[in-house]
């Protein structure tokens, strides 16, 4: 490829619309006759529902309908399992208890819907919520992961013998033997607490059923338009062709918008069909915290067995994963943890066991990082703990155990979220760590800067960690590329976009292959009426998998162009070139044609065509990798802790990342920087706090704190290495979660380093000044 466009920091074509307020988001949709929905949600986290009296609500002017579970009769059933169970893993136990659309006999989390009000406005619908009288018998609540598995714990699902949702054990080698031979075994308990996706746009759905056309159009701010379309069609007994899901611009995804079995996904299409009027539901921020899925909240009991020289012999990690009240998303998050615990290191013996637990909290499904963060946290913290005991420096111990460039592909023996063995495809792991060390000037900091500031009474510390990021998983995505008779190129793919720049990135790929100006490429994402095969935007796979499909389809179109032009100009394909939107014969300037004209010639409206004829310059292609590509990198930061207030400030920040081939460096950096914001949030600000009654204490931005501009380091210095992935023709690896994954482990290492005299062992995140105070007080007692 000539690489004129691919690899360039091309400005995004979607920006002018977004910048001028002309981009369509879900709540911008206004259809004549549209009604508005609101959910009455349970305050109790666990209770039996005795009765729900909606009669007063029905009397309120402006209320069109009020529904409870009994109104849905045969439609009422637990939703589908969105991700298959881990039956590929021997011995896996999985109890599927999927989301129910609206509470019938029992509520299992605070925020679970009890009734659905449809009214002329959202204001009136909310008024009607207060009219509904619910009679509930509260039940004992279970929120603690370990207590939930004790005998006699209240059962979230009465038909199960316990709150065990799943149990998966995986092993590489034999940990017990390795530990027996070890000079040192580090055992620690670690915890990362729950955080929200926190997209600036809340979820929403608009459903429009056309009774005359017998077809349904759904606008949804979803990361999975095709699975959503399929499940709605199936549920309503409609053909896929009768249901179209269109994603407008989406104000951030980050994971929770991958769900397709949320109460609104299930109930609004049913209701729209009954009422024969369009219905809109837009979540508010309180609901987003309370009743949209979130993630994190895993408790780890981990062990690292090493020689006294610091060589790792084995790793063991037994952990509890809080799935909340239901487990509609299978084992994705904990499986990601299992495949990421060994991280960047060559660990011959690894035992990992997850006990997934039902509790009376909101359901957990992936949020940026999606389980990888804890795997990395466990590994990096154990490394640091071992380093302290052995008197080794953090970089030394990491390099000693790191996977070397000549070890790829490395089969880990651990099955991941795509149900195949996690194989590390390529990379240069030592190189990213060394580069991060150079960029942050680690040695200078330790030898000169830190001692000097320490003498002045300051507490500054440095952290440096290594991480892997599983990306680009299957199963597949597809794309259709076509050149129309006007010479414009259209690209369609099934995945949707939440700000990652797909419109531009996919256009770059197509433009490069077809030799057209990027302005002449129009990308459509997330409209099942235009492209109806695919899985969704998750696991940092958009550019990798859908991008590869776009590339494949573009190459097929390129081939067609050359075939058609070759016949026309009577030259062989290697004598022609595609550039400036034309096909040109290299040695004969008189023989050239615009792609538009060629397209017209390739789809005649009169005459005869050959037997194997396919009209147009169009091709559809699918791409599925054999397994996901693994990005990798290293992060380093310098923090300063105010010795009095114990407030922590990040003074320097470096992240080196290897995501293989880069399509658009500007978009890549944006993705990494954005992930860092969430990583810093998970380290120091963000914590969804439930009390012992299962009540979420901070369901608003006033009390759930997300990093603002002044909470971020003044400059995020990004470095890049590129080891192209052999798993797709473009050599791409995903990068969407890179900023979030390593940050908590790097942050705490740096904070510990700021108090060398206290010898801290910080094994829980997030931190806060108050938490630091507790930590410092506790450690002073030990000295």
């Amino acid at each position: 490829m000539t690489k004129k466009i691919f690899g360039q920091p091309i400005k995004r074509s979607e920006d002018p619309r977004l910048l001028t307020g002309q981009a369509l988001f879900i709540d911008d949709i206004q259809i004549s006759g549209m009604l508005h929905a609101a959910f009455l949600r349970s305050d109790y986290a666990h209770a039996r529902v005795r009765s729900i009296d909606v009669s007063a609500a029905l009397q309120r002017p402006g209320v069109v309908a009020v529904y409870t579970a009994k109104d849905f009769s045969e439609y009422w059933r637990p939703g589908p399992l969105q991700v298959p169970p881990p039956s590929a893993i021997p011995g896996a136990v999985f109890n599927a208890r999927t989301l129910i659309p609206i509470a019938k006999d029992k509520v299992r989390y605070s925020g679970e819907p009890l009734a659905l009000v449809i009214a002329e406005s959202r204001y009136i619908a909310e008024d009607a919520l207060a009219d509904i009288v619910v009679d509930m018998d509260p039940l004992p609540v279970v929120t603690d992961l370990e207590k939930a598995l004790e005998a006699g714990a209240p059962l979230v699902h009465d038909d199960l013998p316990s709150n065990l949702a799943a149990n998966v054990k995986q092993e590489r080698g034999n940990y017990a033997e390795a530990a027996a031979k070890a000079d040192l075994v580090i055992k620690r308990r670690l915890h990362i607490d729950r955080g929200a996706g926190g997209a600036m746009e809340n979820r929403g759905i608009v459903v429009d059923w056309d009774e005359k056309a017998q077809s349904m159009t759904i606008w949804a701010s979803t990361q999975a338009p095709i699975p959503l379309r399929n499940s709605i069609a199936a549920r309503l007994g409609l053909s896929d062709t009768q249901v179209r899901v269109i994603t407008p611009f989406i104000g951030g995804g980050f994971g929770p918008k991958i769900m397709t079995s949320m109460p609104d996904d299930v109930l609004l299409p049913i209701v729209a069909r009954w009422l024969k009027r369009p219905v809109k539901w837009i979540e508010d921020r309180r609901e987003n915290f309370l009743a949209t899925t979130s993630e994190r909240d895993q408790l780890h009991y981990s062990e690292l067995a090493l020689t006294k020289e610091g060589k790792i012999l084995g790793l063991k990690d037994v952990f509890y994963h809080n799935t909340g009240a239901y487990d509609p998303y299978g084992m994705t998050v904990p499986l990601n943890t299992q495949t990421h615990t060994m991280g960047s290191y060559d660990i011959p013996n690894f035992y990992t066991e997850v006990r997934m637990v039902f509790t009376n909290k909101m359901v957990v499904t992936p949020v940026r990082g999606a389980g990888r963060t804890y795997g990395v946290f466990v590994m990096e913290r154990l490394m640091d703990e071992a380093a302290k005991e052995l008197g080794m420096d953090p970089i030394e111990i990491r390099l000693k155990n790191m996977i070397q460039p000549d070890q790829f592909p490395l089969r880990t023996g651990i099955t991941g979220q795509d149900f195949v063995e996690n194989v590390l495809d390529s990379g240069n792991y030592p190189a990213t760590l060394i580069k991060a060390r150079e960029m942050v000037e680690y040695d200078k900091f330790k030898k000169e800067i830190q001692p000097k500031l320490c003498r002045e009474g300051k507490h500054v510390g440095i952290g440096i960690v290594s991480f892997v990021e599983g990306t680009g998983v299957g199963p597949y995505e597809g794309a259709r590329v076509a050149v129309d008779t006007g010479g414009k190129v259209s690209v369609a793919t099934g995945i949707s976009t939440q700000g990652q720049g797909h419109f531009t990135v996919f256009a770059q790929i197509a433009a490069e292959q077809l030799g057209v100006d990027i302005k002449d490429v129009r990308v459509v994402t997330g409209d099942t009426g235009i492209f109806h095969w695919g899985a969704g935007t998750f696991a940092s796979r958009g550019a990798t998998v859908a991008g590869s499909a776009v590339n494949k389809a573009a190459l097929m179109v390129r081939k067609k162009i050359l075939e058609v032009a070759g016949r026309l100009f009577e030259v062989s394909e290697d004598k022609m070139v595609l550039e400036d939107g034309m096909v040109k014969v290299l040695d004969d300037p008189s023989k050239c044609m615009t792609l538009g004209d060629l397209s017209a010639k390739s789809a005649p409206t009169r005459g005869i065509t050959p037997a194997d004829f396919e009209p147009g310059l169009e091709a559809t292609a699918y791409f599925g990798p054999p397994y996901g590509a693994t990005g990798q990198g290293a992060e380093a930061m310098v923090v300063e802790v105010d010795p009095e207030t114990l407030e922590i400030k990040i003074q320097r920040f470096v992240l080196v990342h290897d995501c293989g081939t880069v399509i658009n460096p500007m978009i890549l950096e944006g993705q990494v920087q954005g992930g860092v914001q969430m990583g810093i949030g998970n380290s120091y600000y963000e914590q969804m706090i439930y009390d012992e009654n299962g009540q979420l204490m901070n369901a608003s931005f006033m009390d759930y704190l997300m990093p603002g501009s002044t909470d971020m380091p003044a400059k995020m210095e990004l470095g890049h290495l590129s080891t192209p992935s052999p798993l797709n023709p473009l050599g791409i690896k995903g990068v969407g979660e890179a900023g979030a994954i390593p940050t908590p482990s790097c942050f705490v290492q740096a904070v510990e380093d700021a108090f060398p005299e206290l010898k801290l062992h910080i094994l829980d995140v997030p931190l806060s000044p108050s938490r630091m105070f507790e930590i410092v007080q506790e450690s002073k007692k030990k000295i």
């Binding site: 959202r122 204001y123 909310e126 008024d127 207060a130 508010d284 921020r285 309180r286 009095e644 207030t645 407030e647 600000y685 914590q687 706090i689 204490m697 901070n698 608003s700 006033m702 009390d703 704190l705 990093p707 603002g708 002044t710 909470d711 806060s768 000044p769 108050s770 105070f773 507790e774 007080q777």
Partner: protein, 294 residues
């Protein structure tokens, strides 16, 4: 999150507003900047039957120099106007010190000086300052008007002496005497987020440079801004040296406040940080008092 319905009144004069409040009694609620009330209404935690909107009353929007050298600020003066006013900078610099901590500029463009006082958030910076400065509040009703001292004005969490048919019309900040110093310090999780603890101090030195008075006002440590009177006693009559300041800070933090634990900080941290902030604020305020000497 949409608010519940309410009847709406938009008087254009103080008299009209007071008439309306007299009429509405317990049903009526004053709407000033709305930056605290409207979020509560959007959450439906507040559902007033009627709102009396003061935003159209121009006669409540003023910053005047008081003859005694202090300031008179009308209730509906926007926080941002106060923040950028040259006379306020001169006569009540502590207000400018606290303002950048109060939410964000977009909130301060709408929020009002008097509204914050009447709202009486125990975590509010402006009530805390008012108590430190011995501010006075002018409250009016249709038939009555009276002045009250800040320390008497605030009665509890989100509670003041204001009755349903009354409203706050003016805040008077006294003149800062010679050899006085003020200082505001706080710790919050983020810029603009609620303080974990805030301290506003107002100290005066005598001609010998000894502490004549010390108002140590603290927010987020009780049901309303608290004055640390015992701590002040330790300072009065003493030279403001580090040991005395330290002792005062200690007393304030251990004996005079009642901070709770919440999701953002434990009681222990709040007490600890209260001592740190009182020490920092007093040290700086005394320094300023010394440079303002006569």
């Amino acid at each position: 999150m949409k608010p519940a319905p309410f009847d709406y009144y938009a008087p254009s004069s103080i008299t009209e507003a007071l008439d309306r409040l007299a009429e509405l009694g317990y049903d009526g609620k004053v709407l000033a900047g709305g930056q605290s009330l409207i979020p509560a209404m959007n959450f439906r935690m507040a559902q007033p039957a009627a709102l009396v909107d003061l935003n159209g009353i121009k006669e409540l929007d003023y910053i005047r120099s008081a003859p005694d050298g202090g300031l008179l600020i009308g209730t509906m003066t926007r926080d941002s106007k106060v923040e950028h006013d040259a006379t306020v900078a001169q006569r009540a610099p502590i207000v400018l010190e606290a303002m950048p901590h109060i939410a964000h500029p977009q909130i301060r463009n709408r929020g009002t000086f008097g509204g914050a006082m009447a709202h009486a958030d125990p975590a509010g910076q402006l009530p805390g300052l008012a108590v430190a400065l011995n501010a006075r509040f002018l409250v009016k009703s249709k038939t009555n008007e009276y002045w009250t001292a800040a320390d008497d004005f605030f009665v509890g969490p989100f509670g003041t002496v204001i009755q349903p048919d009354e409203m706050l019309v003016e805040v008077a900040l006294p003149a800062l005497p010679q050899r006085s110093g003020t200082c505001y310090r706080q710790v919050s999780r983020q810029k603009g987020s609620q303080a974990l603890v805030g301290v506003a101090v107002f100290v005066v030195l005598d001609e010998k440079g000894k502490c004549q008075s010390a108002n140590i006002s603290m927010l987020c440590v009780g049901e309303r801004p608290l004055l640390a009177r015992e701590a002040a006693k330790v300072l009065v009559g003493q030279l403001p040296v580090a040991e005395a300041i330290h002792a005062a800070a200690d007393i304030a933090a251990t004996k005079e406040i009642d901070p709770g634990s919440d999701i953002h900080a434990t009681e222990e941290y709040r007490r600890y940080i209260a001592a740190v902030l009182v020490q920092r604020a007093l040290t700086e305020a005394f320094k300023r008092a010394q440079s303002r000497g006569g």
